[in-house]
């Protein structure tokens, strides 16, 4: 039963990912990526990572993709909207190579430990809940957390400054 759930979610994610790189229209690409990200959130739930699944939907599907869609709407995409996808040799060769490498990887990983124990290490009842993640985040990873807030500040300031028009005119 859970293999069915996994296959459905993984199929959704892979389809979204493939369509992201295949559509010519960037807006359709962005929406396919959104589908892939939501599929991934579902996969996180099957992995008992409930906090992370919520964060995935909030941050990726809710913020990053909205940003992408805003930026796509700013541009004039009429010259690429109705173009059919050009099949280039590097695309075909690259696709086949990716397929072969992924297949080989799957074969190697599945045969390294054929009876890999799916339960792994024992874990508590609130694994992946917000309390458990907070324990690790504010305990073991306190310093990276503070540095991350600094990085986010720098990113916000940087994005605002780079996107301004006056910034580029003054520096000429």
């Amino acid at each position: 039963m859970d293999v069915v759930v996994f296959v459905i979610l993984a199929g959704l994610t892979l389809t979204g990912a493939l369509l992201t790189i295949l559509w010519t229209n960037p807006l359709r690409s962005a929406l396919s990526l959104l589908v892939a990200l939501v599929g991934l959130a579902g996969l996180y739930v099957t992995l008992l990572a409930h906090f992370l699944a919520a964060m995935q939907l909030l941050v990726y599907a809710g913020a990053v993709m909205v940003l992408f869609v805003f930026v796509i709407m700013l541009f004039d995409t009429t010259e690429q909207e109705d173009r059919p996808l050009e099949i280039r040799p590097i695309g075909v060769v690259g696709g086949l190579a990716t397929l072969m490498v992924v297949g080989k990887f799957t074969k190697v990983v599945s045969s390294v430990r054929p009876g890999i124990d799916t339960t792994g290490e024992p874990f508590g009842e609130n694994f992946g809940s917000i309390e458990a993640v907070a324990d690790v985040l504010f305990g073991q990873f306190m310093l990276p957390f503070e540095l991350l807030s600094l990085l986010l500040l720098v990113a916000v300031v940087g994005a605002v400054v780079v996107a301004r028009q006056r910034f580029w005119r003054e520096s000429k």
């Binding site: 993984a10 992201t20 990726y60 940003l67 992924v102 690790v136 994005a159």
Partner: protein
Amino acid sequence: MIGDIPLYYYLALSFALLGIGVLGMLVRKNVLIMLMSLELMLNGANLAFVAYARFRGDEAGHVISFFVMALAAAEAAVGLALVIAVYRHFKTLHIDKLNTLRG
């Protein structure tokens, strides 16, 4: 139970997402699609972290994945601001035409 899915299913999917992201990055010429392929790669890595966290019973994988998400959001913001600035100057999003630094 949900725990009956072997680890390598998730690892294979993570690797496939990474491969699709790399393929998109190398083959597509539109800057926005390249940024989206970058997000795909980061998500592939996130899935690997979360899968291993589940099979080791350690939430450190979740925390690292959380950091990767925050970093990816910051990088997407700055990258898109750069794309806007570049478009204003070059009026195109085709990566082959953005070659004035080549030299």
